[in-house]
Symmetry: C2
DNA sequence: TATGCACCCTGTAGCAACTACAGGGTCAAG
DNA sequence: CTTGACCCTGTAGTTGCTACAGGGTGCATA
């Protein structure tokens, strides 16, 4: 299939597909006589793997490792589990951080009673960390 | 104060301070005879405002708008409230998205029983979206 | 007096993970 | 035979910094 079909089949931007090839995440496909890229089903499923992993927040480098593992079926599955578990922990940390941030923002936004900027509690709170109830970031 | 002192006073990287000046977020300070930047307390509190807002996840452009508002005390506070409220909504959406992602990852990780990559449920799940219980991203 | 060291300067390039052109070639339908 | 959809390469932009390279300044110590 041509790049446009692969794009539609996987919901991936054409430029992104070429980008993945450039960085070596997708193998370079065969070319037609007109120098068009010609993809196989193997390409399609590899790209699906990449996109799905990206949607789940894995970095390109993590995906590279996961692809290496899946390319070699004899390899130890524990490595894949380690990558996924580490990533899960990062996601959990990010959620906690955002939750703290949300609480702080809720507090700040709740204090706005309208009026002019000179009396704005939002601006005041942003200017002074001491208004915060818990550390964020 | 010199840039190093401002850096320590606000916990901001020196390169970041110069970057903020370059993009017009911090006004260019006076210079000493040796061409060193010389900051006032007004600079310090403006930088604190910027850093605190960044910690809360506001983008540079949002901060620019918030600074414009705080520079003009006669302006309507509602604009600041709108920016903060919109940002809060984004944070809440991001939290929900990450929570869905965490659930999916938890499901995937939980299926790994060790063994070889050919039978790895982690890799299998990443390769096929149909293993997912809920849509993510 | 020299010299070492911490600090400052400018300008440019790099990071992640794309996205968006510019400027060109290919191919099938009407 | 031309219109339009598609494809190609190569480069530059995005966000918010961070990291040099290659130089100048200022003060304390040997």
């Amino acid at each position: 299939m041509k790049i446009g079909e692969l794009s539609r089949a996987t919901g991936t931007n054409i430029e992104t597909i070429r980008y993945y090839e450039r960085i070596g995440l997708l193998p370079a496909p065969d070319r037609t006589a007109a120098n068009y890229r010609s993809y196989s089903d193997a390409h399609r499923s590899r790209l699906s793997f990449v996109r799905h992993s990206r949607e789940l927040g894995f970095t390109i480098e993590e995906i590279r490792s996961l692809l290496d593992l899946s390319d070699d079926p004899a390899r130890d599955c524990a490595a894949a589990d380690r990558i996924a578990t580490a990533h899960l922990e990062q996601v959990e940390q990010k959620i906690e951080q955002l939750a703290r941030l949300r609480d702080e923002l809720t507090r700040i936004v709740g204090r706005c009673r309208g009026g002019i900027a000179a009396d704005c509690r939002v601006i005041e709170a942003l200017g002074d960390h001491r208004h915060c109830e818990s550390p964020h970031v």
